[in-house]
């Protein structure tokens, strides 16, 4: 059989945009070529088609928006995204109606390593939960146990719990105001969770605001575990040609989120510097 070209450009038809919690929605798009290729932890560049924007090619949003695969249904040819409405590009996605056309490029990035035995720990902050349901499903079907710690500011903002449970994960929720699940940030709850693990998890993945990733990495390093983190960066292209998506590497210089990531071993990246760079401008997710 001929190998599928691994990257595709596809005009996807919107099946649904549904608000799941205030300011966040699930976007389902029929994009069979992408759905057939996407692996857990990878992302797509998503752009409202020019025709939808009054016919003017190149009007804002000009660039695609990187979004992680929240679900991919290979047989149905559907990819789904969990989107936090942040600015113009994601607002355009939230305004989509069934039948609208989006241009999708992907799948890009290296995804999470396969976890097929032992216990996998997932740590998610806010919309950072987005890449995890496919990760959990793959790990569970390969024979691993999955525990997911899902953090949010308060109960109405907790995301992804149903999808993670459907994928076979055990889910622990925490909220900063204690309105649902355990009280505190994921970094407060994580030590208790690690204590309760017995033999301890065999792998750990985290995704969330940069300010969360650095302390999570420290906690897991103390527990003797290698953490993989999924990072964000402003992207020009998503496929390696513009060099726009640089993040500071632990050994100096830069790594590129679209090619070297978005998933990195936590120790490869200078997470403190990443947090500083994103700090001031980005509201907590």
């Amino acid at each position: 059989m001929r190998k599928l070209p691994d990257w595709v450009q596809e005009a996807g038809r919107v099946l649904a945009w549904r608000e799941v919690v205030p300011g966040h929605g699930r976007l389902d798009v029929r994009a069979p070529a992408l759905a057939a290729r996407a692996r857990p932890g990878q992302f797509a560049m998503v752009r409202a088609a020019p025709a939808l924007r009054g016919g003017a090619v190149g009007m804002a949003p000009f660039l695609g928006r990187p979004l992680s695969f929240f679900d991919m249904d290979t047989t149905g040819g559907v990819v789904s995204f969990l989107v936090r409405v942040t600015g113009e590009g994601t607002r355009a996605l939230a305004a989509c109606r069934p039948g609208d056309v989006l241009v999708l490029l992907g799948p890009f990035g290296n995804g999470f390593p396969a976890a097929n035995s032992g216990t996998l720990l997932l740590v998610a902050g806010g919309v950072g939960v987005a890449p995890f349901p496919p990760v959990a499903r793959a790990a569970v079907s390969a024979g691993a146990r999955v525990t997911a710690l899902v953090g949010a500011r308060s109960a109405p903002l907790v995301l992804g719990v149903r999808e993670l449970r459907d994928a076979g994960a055990e889910v622990v929720v925490c909220t900063e105001d204690g309105s649902r699940g355990r009280c505190g940030m994921v970094t407060d709850v994580l030590p208790q969770l690690l204590d309760g693990f017995g033999a301890g998890p065999s792998a750990a993945f985290a995704c969330g605001p940069p300010a969360m990733l650095a302390p999570v990495a420290r906690l897991l390093e103390q527990a003797g575990l290698e953490l993989h983190v999924s990072l964000e960066a402003r992207m020009g292209c998503g496929f390696g040609v513009c060099r726009g998506c640089a993040v500071p590497a632990a050994r100096g210089g830069y790594l590129h989120v679209c090619q070297d990531g978005p998933v990195f071993p936590a120790r490869a990246v200078d997470l403190e510097a990443v947090a500083r760079l994103w700090g001031a401008g980005t509201r907590a997710r």
């Binding site: 070209p5 691994d6 990257w7 450009q9 752009r47 090619v57 190149g58 009007m59 804002a60 949003p61 000009f62 660039l63 695609g64 113009e88 590009g89 241009v103 490029l105 960066a233 402003r234 992207m235 020009g236 292209c237 496929f239 390696g240 040609v241 513009c242 060099r243 726009g244 998506c245 640089a246 993040v247 500071p248 100096g252 210089g253 830069y254 090619q259 760079l277 700090g279 001031a280 401008g281 980005t282 509201r283």
Partner: protein, 317 residues
Amino acid sequence: MTPRGGADLEVNLAGIRLANPVLVASGTFGYGREMVRWFDLRRVGGIITKGTTLAPRAGNPPPRIAETPAGLLNSIGLENPGVDAVVREEIPFLREFGIPVIVNIAGETVEEYAALAAKLDRVEGVAGLEVNVSCPNVRAGGMAFGTDPLATAAVVRAVRNATSLPVMVKLTPNVTDIVAIARAAQEAGADAISLINTLKGLAIDVRGHRPLLGAVTGGLSGPAIKPVALRMVWEVAGAIDVPILGCGGIMTGLDAVEFLMAGASAVAVGSATLVDPLAAPRIVEEIAAYLEEEGFARVGDLVGLARRTLAGGGENS
């Protein structure tokens, strides 16, 4: 290769034979490695590589990209592996496609430009040089040369003396009088002029209360700059004799046709590739379709056509 219809797409740019007039602009195509996953590189007229410096460069601190209306700001800062690695690893890869490869070079001093040109002279697979005196994103060199006719001329002369390759000079729009700079480049021995690099710009992060880009300012590209680029091509084409490579906001075949009619002999597609990786080969097809629809036999018939029409000399003959 004629993609469709019968029109002849071939052009000659300063002695470099291009099968069609569409090049890919520096910095938006890497060294082609990622792009071969999207299309057969032989579908474009040629490749202009990422800006290459003598020593490797890590580039500027992030964030390096900001979206703007109809375009983007970038402050990549010439991240590249250095000329030796490019000669060793990237050129041999690109050579396999048999299409012209033009290496975009940037130095911090006149001597560095000359050294780069000398290193690339006689490298098999390099068809020409694009001398970048116009990068707005580096502290030393870069645009500083391209904003002064004497400094531009000094760089061009040094490069001219260091190589027998065709030398194209890429100018910055961040000047009051583009014609003066272009003339200086031509007089110093440039075989072609490449117009334009990005316009220096700024974006503020209103939530963070600070400039959005890590390097504070960046270079504006995309459809937003097309009218400026066209105007500069028009002005320079009226003042010099060497061919012009037009670039700036080209998204479609008709955008490219505008540049050709303003006086460019070929075009380069930049930011369009970032949002549509198939943009450059699509634009080749669209130019071919235009020629067919309008009954032009050769793409060369378009070059400077709007100038001739204005002068009353060259109605669609």
